[in-house]
Symmetry: C2
Subunit: 425 residues, 2 copies
């Protein structure tokens, strides 16, 4: 497509593309904006190495393409504008939350990356927010890298989980790269590598001190709890990774309390999700922290989301053409837009309109340069928590609630009508 | 754990860890071994940069750790052995398919990476094989990077899909890195960027020639087909991305045939999976190629799999200790193993036993060095197709079949009994 735009003499036309969620996944009332620094980094470094250009030139699909295009790729840099809702913003279906306005090739090429880079962490962040809400004040720690779709997904999933409210991650690389608190415990192999469970517990205390989390279910959970209790402090607490979490946590709590270890904490892990967490929390299980892996790192119940990156406007030599897709069930809305978040609804308006409430789409890159430093991950995490706190309680529950109202401004409605009339066969 | 092993004086103990699938995902009769080159690359490059060591040293969990450990990390290299089933091998639950034998820290550290690096592509490759089987000879092309969990997951997912039998991918970077055939078509934005659909079709022909795939559903699919037909050749064919694929493909076929374009092909895409493909194929839809995105790139119906990486054996100064986990529902089998694939079953035996059939676990790294070049991706793709072809037909169907029989050798059964007796409380 890039070659085609170039060969058709369209490379100077400025296009506006919008990223929007077409449908929220079943069971989710929102997702959270995430992945923006990755999009910015991608746009700022997007270029073509000579060996990549040679590869393209050798493809049969490029045999008719002029050498001018490959020269264009050699000089290629992103020079356009990026507008986006800040990380941590709750997002809903049917509203643009990221806009790229650039010469058409520069705006088209990022399509695949943008969709992947926003959608995956948005799903994980909202899954994390649901787990955290269900945990009712208990800590939720992200444990899922082993199930992530590549190591990089593990790192970026850990980042998204922290953004969504997790207390930390077991992914040390995510800690190194993003400053996320790292929380680890030993695995069963640690316990099995020593001549006895007690010896493995003692050795863990030697190295971790007050950060020690004894994994007590390798052989027999209650027996493991007794052995950990016998050794006493230093100890953060114990982890139960299998069996009936409610019954075992109560039994283990009693064992720890009897040994005078009232401050020792109990972490539970193993096939958890927001529903199991809520069940345990509501039952009053004496659990202080949940380690959530698979379901969080893969957004297991909703591993994908129907999101689009569609051209909405094209400036051809000063004349704006508004574009929209009329395919069955896949309609897109024309024209560059702004979203105003009011107290009880969002208003999707045309770009440049005035509105009440918070304008969600903010300038991030102008002319290929960063307008100001992006908010930090901590700021994004706060924004997520605060924004969700202002939303109706029902949206934060695990059950599906009435959707957050989204309306179109009068100007946008007029543009939609006009464009559809013009495009209709 | 690495610091703990080191501080406990265990760094020289040689451990054997095994990767095994605990349960196949619901609905799958097999997965395919994939991701091995990524594991090898990881092991061969695994090391710690000075800034990473400084980061670790600053973590509270490492405050009690001696400087000897950080010196150890500075010199760290993987010096162990890796045995694995070759890529493309059909895998089942309850059998080891990758073994690492190395000093315990070297064998422990790769746990998370190995689980992620094998499981994700194994799921995608088997999903691809299912789609290809359902397509009954029609081509299946991987279109899913936009839904992948990070860009790297898009590239490695495309690799896995090709391994599983896909004809190609729309991910150009996967083509560049792995030599996979790249197949692309234009998006709706291409069509919308021109003053008319016909003009967009003409311009695509100019640049792609006989590789042209006209996307005909931006406004009205049948009208789009007529416009594509009117322009005629050069043309590979057309793509339908929305609507009733069966009805539309028949109608579009008629339009193309009437225009004398009998060789023009029809590709269908949009929310496809193996079940929809089979439905269309069985109905005799005149579809030549399926573009499968979301479901393939995320293994949508089974985005994760319960797989383990467990210590099975530990050599402490020449004395072998066999290790196993007895947690409820999470039992692991002791001792290093081999798997013999016979004509109608697998026999899991102890390492060193003789057996009939093909020994699946083959040496890949010995002493941290590659034994021989890994099979190419094309060879792995052939192995997958040939191996599946030899399996019972029922395993290749989409429905759940009787599982492939897996039995334990007498020697292994004896070791299991002995170890469980020794470990039981």
């Amino acid at each position: 497509m890039a070659a085609g735009y170039f060969e058709a003499g369209k490379a100077a036309e400025r296009a506006t593309f919008e990223f929007a969620i077409r449908r929220l996944p079943a069971g989710r009332n929102f997702v959270l904006m995430a992945g923006l620094p990755q999009v910015v980094e991608y746009l700022l470094q997007l270029s073509f190495a000579e060996e990549e250009i040679e590869y393209l030139r050798g493809l049969p699909q490029f045999h008719r393409v002029s050498s001018g295009f490959f020269d264009y790729l050699r000089r290629f840099r992103f020079t356009g504008d990026l507008f986006a809702a800040p990380e941590g913003t709750p997002l809903f279906a049917g509203q643009p939350v990221l806009t790229i306005r650039a010469p058409i090739v520069e705006a088209q090429l990022p399509e695949t990356f943008v969709l992947s880079a926003i959608t995956f962490p948005a799903l994980v962040a909202s899954k994390a927010a649901r787990c955290v809400a269900a945990a009712g004040g208990r800590a939720v720690v992200e444990f899922g890298t082993r199930r992530a779709h590549t190591a990089e997904a593990g790192v970026l999933g850990a980042r998204a989980a922290y953004l969504g409210g997790c207390a930390g991650t077991s992914n040390t690389l995510a800690g190194f790269r993003f400053g996320i608190p790292v929380k680890g415990t030993a695995a069963h192999s640690w316990v099995m590598s020593f001549s006895s469970e007690t010896e493995s517990f003692r050795q863990l205390q030697n190295v971790l001190g007050e950060h020690t989390v004894q994994l007590i279910d390798t052989y027999d959970t209650i027996e493991g709890a007794r052995r950990a209790a016998q050794l006493g402090k230093p100890l953060w607490g114990v982890r139960i990774d299998s069996g009936d979490s409610l019954a075992l946590s109560r039994h283990v709590r009693a064992v720890l309390d009897e040994a005078g270890l009232r401050e020792a904490q109990i972490m539970v892990s193993g096939d958890l999700d927001e529903y199991k967490i809520r069940e345990l929390a509501r039952a009053g299980a004496p659990i202080d922290a949940f380690g959530v892996g698979t379901q969080l790192a893969t957004s297991g119940d909703a591993p994908f989301m129907n999101a689009t990156y569609k051209m909405v406007e094209l400036d051809i030599g000063g004349i704006n053409r508004f574009t929209a897709k009329l395919s069955e069930d896949k309609i897109s809305l024309p024209g560059a837009k702004q979203v105003f978040r009011e107290l009880e609804r969002d208003v999707v308006a045309r770009s440049g309109e005035c509105g009440k409430g918070e304008a969600l789409l903010r300038p991030v890159l102008i002319g290929g340069r960063l307008v100001e430093p992006l908010p930090t991950l901590e700021q994004a995490r706060c924004r997520a928590a605060e924004s969700l706190g202002r939303m109706p309680q029902a949206l934060r529950e695990l059950e599906v609630a009435d959707p957050w109202p989204i309306v179109h401004s009068r100007e946008l409605r007029e543009l939609i009508d006009r464009t559809h009339r013009n495009l209709s066969p």
